[in-house]
Symmetry: C2
Subunit: 340 residues, 2 copies
DNA sequence: CTGAAAGCGCTTACAG
DNA sequence: CTGAAAGCGCTTACAG
């Protein structure tokens, strides 16, 4: 009996009548090895259920088999999508995934990350928005020799260090759709100041309006914080104003759902009285009534690509993957305007 | 420059003019050490920014500083709550958190877990429902000498291996509240077959009804799968029937929200025409209209307690913590029945 | 194609 | 209170 997984390379070597080195070669699938020796050793390994000790390997190899996601993002759905994507990316490899949240508003955020990097020395890390736009943190990773990829809405680093979604183009498309449906007075509820994604989505909105030669006045843009509550409040302020828009583009789904609640309270019918488009395509967006028309954000695919890059033989192979260009999911929250 | 974090215990020993062992003693906060030596060594360590190599420590110590959550639970909110709880539990320690999803329906689930355990040798793991009720998997952990804790709704293992919520009592309380509000025809939408939590919640419902001497017929219980879609379908089947209940206890919030959509489609007003209580208290439950009355499930606290136990000096200290006894969150989805 | 020696960076008895 | 030696379980040049 005894515990599993406690036989060592020495046991295998002794039983197989070869040197440790030879065993090591079959573990690491080295090529200089006769088929006969290999299969003999493999049989012994299978027989005694030998598995190399990961800590010993890591020490000798000078790197472990761990990648991590470092984030300061409270959104559960987003986080799990990222994790699932990364997990897909490392599937079949020897790597595992660690999770390390940090506190964006803390002045010691760099120390928190230093601490994590020192304590676990992950082979690579994925930095999620919004902290991914912090250059210092990226440099910190580099200073430890840790591979890193940043997820963002613009290319704020070298190609091998970035995985990008083109939020601007996607929003422009969504707002253009609203315009094509006959809307002219289209409001925007934007994301929090300082978030690159918020700025990009706003830029997409402005571009679409500009191309259609539709005016954008200050009162058409309401601040938000990417939270349900902030969406609700923005909705209240827009819907209680004298001149209401016929459509609102909301910078994420959670806020869009807040707006829907505000509208319902006021007996404003969606989509007949008010059209709404969100951004993210969270599962939730199809679970509200009416189901929300939204822009699909391929977080899963982005995270997968990032993880693959992190554990690739050479990270340097620049990947010019830009995700998300046209990804409008039309559901039930937009109606055509019948011009009088 | 050169990378950070690449000085070794030897550098410190040389610079401080002591042996490696002495340095090791200060790292590990051993007591047999003069204050003078200790502070001298600490200064050197701080000066050169030395941090012990985690892989080397793990190898010598014969265990690393990683705990993991192993799960087969698709619910993002649940998963993130667990992760946050565990992270709180290990805060300030040297431990870090890994995440390993497995496929419940796969015949090779044991192999997936074996693989993970062998590859990373985590110091401890938390098993989440529903796979937490699989005794084989728990034994598998034990066979590798890996500490484990299982999260469940009943005490299906020794006290040190379990963290429990008393779903049955909590549901009984919720249904009793419905009864006190005058409801007699109370339907149940239950969780999936084979889930312990589903059976416990159903038992709580049945107990409450029995104590109030209210009949429970077969047609009052509708199956569900803990998903929005299954809740919606169950809602449709209940609300399209001839004899409608005045209240429904739904075994989780996601399904409850599905029921709300089904009700709205049929112009059934909540709570005036139909009262609903859910279970979980997900953030979402207060973001719907009307806000959902529900049972608060303290996943975060449970996960924290489990993580603390996993990294404790002695796991054996049996913790008889049972979470959740009375945790009804009254919001807007229940109305009093005015008896005629 | 195969092996003996040294090394990765720590900690653990055992002495003194 | 402090240290020299051996060991944790692997891999890496270097030989042959």
């Amino acid at each position: 009996m005894g515990q599993r997984g406690n036989s060592t390379i020495n046991d295998v070597a002794r039983l197989a009548n070869v040197s440790k080195k030879t065993v090591s070669r079959v573990i690491n699938k080295s090529s200089h090895l006769s088929d006969k020796t290999r299969s003999h050793v493999e049989k012994i390994i299978a027989d005694i259920g030998y598995v190399p000790n990961p800590q010993a390997r890591a020490l000798a190899l000078r790197h472990n088999f761990i990648i991590a996601v470092i984030h300061d993002n409270p959104n559960a759905q987003f986080l799990v999508s990222v994790q699932n994507g990364m997990l897909e990316g490392i599937k079949g490899s020897d790597y595992g995934l660690m999770v390390q949240p940090v506190n964006r508003n803390s002045p010691t955020i760099a120390d928190e990350i230093k601490n994590f990097l020192e304590r676990h020395r992950p082979y690579g890390v994925l930095l999620l928005p919004p902290i991914s736009d912090n250059d210092e943190l990226a440099e910190l990773c580099a200073s430890y020799g840790t591979r890193y990829v940043r997820m963002a809405s613009i290319e704020l680093d070298a190609p091998e260090h970035i995985v990008t979604s083109n939020d601007r183009a996607a929003v422009e498309e969504a707002v253009t759709y609203l315009i094509e449906e006959g809307h002219e007075n289209i409001a925007l509820i934007e994301g929090p100041k300082g978030f690159i994604s918020a700025a990009e989505r706003r830029a997409g909105y402005e571009q679409a309006m500009a191309k259609a030669k539709l005016p954008v006045t200050k009162d058409m843009i309401t601040p938000g914080a990417y939270t349900f509550e902030s969406g609700y409040e923005a909705g209240v302020s827009i819907l209680d104003a004298d001149k209401k828009p016929t459509a609102i583009f909301v910078a994420n789904d959670e806020m869009a759902i807040g707006v829907m609640i505000a509208a319902r309270e006021r007996n404003i019918n969606i989509p007949d009285d008010l059209s709404i488009i969100g951004f993210d395509d969270t599962p939730l967006s199809s679970h509200v009534w009416p189901p929300l028309t939204t822009v699909r954000w391929p977080i899963n695919a982005m995270a997968k690509s990032a993880a693959e890059r992190l554990i690739a033989e050479k990270q340097n192979v620049p990947s010019k993957d830009v995700f998300l260009s046209s990804a409008l999911i039309k559901r039930g929250s937009v109606a055509k305007i019948i011009k009088v």
